[in-house]
Amino acid sequence: MNTPFLKNKSFLYILLFIVMIAIPLITNRYWTDVASTAMFYILLALGLNIIVGYAGLLDLGYSAFFAVGSYTTGILTTQFGVSFWISIFLGAIFATVLGVLIGIPTLRLRSDYLAIVTLGFGEIIRLIANNSKFTGGASGIYGIPKPKIGSFVFQSNVLLYYLMFIFVLLAIFVIWRLGNSRVGRAWKYIREDEDAAEAMGVNGLYYKLLAYGLGAMFGGLAGSLFAVKMSAIAPESFGFMQSAMILLAVVLGGIGRISGVILGAVLVILLPEAMRSFSDWRIFLFGVLLVLTMIFRPNGLWPSKKETEEMDDPEPLKGGSKSVVS
């Protein structure tokens, strides 16, 4: 390791980790809340990144899975007295099942059709939440209890922040390992060229479904956490704008890369804070930002990986070891 200490990546990550732990201890309640919201968006963006960034499927209705997680926890904890831990588990399962159910008929479609169908689906879920009795209609569900382990209650914002932080770390771990595996590579092959992937023996439909289901699962998890954090949920939180914001988070920092996605999610939360004096401009600027990113930095703000030149074989055209012969 001849990298200078300060440029060493793992050092940076450790530093970031310490900062994230310290935030609620050294800042006030307001900034702890901002940091908590950032945690949601990181979790959501990591999940959507599996679908959009890894598998290259544009999902414009991701908030539907977020909603399923939220409502599962909201309804089960308030009306049936189910513990949060069971509800978050079920929320994730319901979201996954929904993802697979939507995916089976629609993932065969062309990519642009898929975008519109998922958008329509997101709206359907929001309308169902808005029009049904069991979801509390337009006013939603309130009085969602905080999670607890035994008699220990995650009452304060600081504790909830740490709870979310743990989930985010877990998600990063799982998604990072998935991304750097045979499954993750299959997703990227499909994203790059589905026909070629298929020709290499990658079952396109299966891996797209897998991406969709897993992405939905993380959406569901984030939704459950959202419900207990806010203690009240309503259909407005799950509209198209929510899906668009998560998409922006995925795109802005660096689509398909975990560090980029985290950066994007943090930016999506911090930018409005930085320009609160003209908050009306927020969404307009986000739209412009989406366009500019795609035109000038389609791989996001996070710097791209460097290409490497490797040593050639001493005798390039005569080589080939026996291990290739099956």
């Binding site: 045979r182 299959a186 060229d193 298929e198 030149e309 055209l317």
Partner: protein
């Protein structure tokens, strides 16, 4: 023994017959050339064998199984690998990642293996890397392994595609116009490479080519298509002397 039997295959697009009633066989460990003028149905034939098009009639038997109606990924898993006429690499992935895709169908790790990094998964990952590196070495492009596929010159991209196909450890390798767009020295290297592949891996090769000269240099047998029909089949020098073939090429083709 024949590895592939194409049996009275027909492909229609609406009323248009792209390929009609074509039968031929590919014998094991042979290089078979499929030639014909533009629009003769070569690529359609190719896409049917690899599962990208579904023939409207007929059978394709690949090492004992009828593969008509099977998905391309399934057919690849049975031991077929292809390249594309207009190079279809994974553009923003590295050359090594591109070639690793070939090992997909020979490995099996899923979500749990990936997340838990089981011993079996680690072993598979190591194997995937090894084979990918070997294939890169074999086609002589190891030094490009860390480069993004889209940033490489055309001739190198062609080789990446061949390495990627080899990494699936196929019984049958299908090359779709591999010489298209290559210059003279690259073309010569390609002929050399095809012969080396056949020799080294004991592979069967189906070669679609516009370049009749190239085919006659490497093929053990040539099948000629014209207007979707088979007009000749046999040894290269026989076929190229066949008046119908000459007419198809010189009489009608103008490029």
């Amino acid at each position: 023994m024949s590895l592939v039997e194409v049996d009275e295959i027909e492909l229609r697009f609406g009323g248009l017959v792209a390929v009609g009633d074509v039968s031929f066989q590919i014998e094991e460990k042979n290089v078979v050339g499929l030639i014909g003028p533009n629009g003769a149905g070569k690529t359609s034939m190719f896409n049917m064998i690899t599962g990208f098009y579904k023939p409207t009639k007929g059978k394709i038997i690949f090492s004992g199984t009828n593969i008509v109606g099977k998905k391309p990924s399934k057919i690849t898993q049975l031991g077929m690998a292809r390249t594309f006429q207009n190079i279809r690499l994974f553009p923003s992935l590295t050359v090594r990642e591109n070639v690793m895709s070939g090992m997909h169908s020979k490995t099996s790790q899923g979500i749990w293996g990936a997340v838990l990094r089981t011993a079996k998964q680690q072993k598979e990952e190591k194997e995937i890397l090894e084979i990918a590196n070997d294939c890169l070495s074999f086609v002589g492009i190891k030094k490009y392994a860390g480069r993004l596929a889209k940033n490489l010159p055309y001739g190198i991209q062609r080789r990446v595609e061949i390495a990627r196909a080899l990494a699936t450890k196929p019984k049958l390798l299908l090359l779709d116009e591999p010489a298209a767009g290559l210059n003279l020295s690259e073309r010569k290297e390609l002929i050399d490479l095809i012969l080396r592949i056949k020799e080294h891996f004991q592979l069967t090769v189906l070669l679609i080519e516009h370049d009749v000269g190239l085919v006659s240099e490497v093929a053990d047998k040539i099948v000629v298509l014209d207007y979707g029909r088979k007009i000749a089949e046999g040894l290269p020098n026989e076929v190229l002397a066949n008046p119908r073939v000459i007419e198809a090429y010189i009489g009608k083709d103008d490029d």
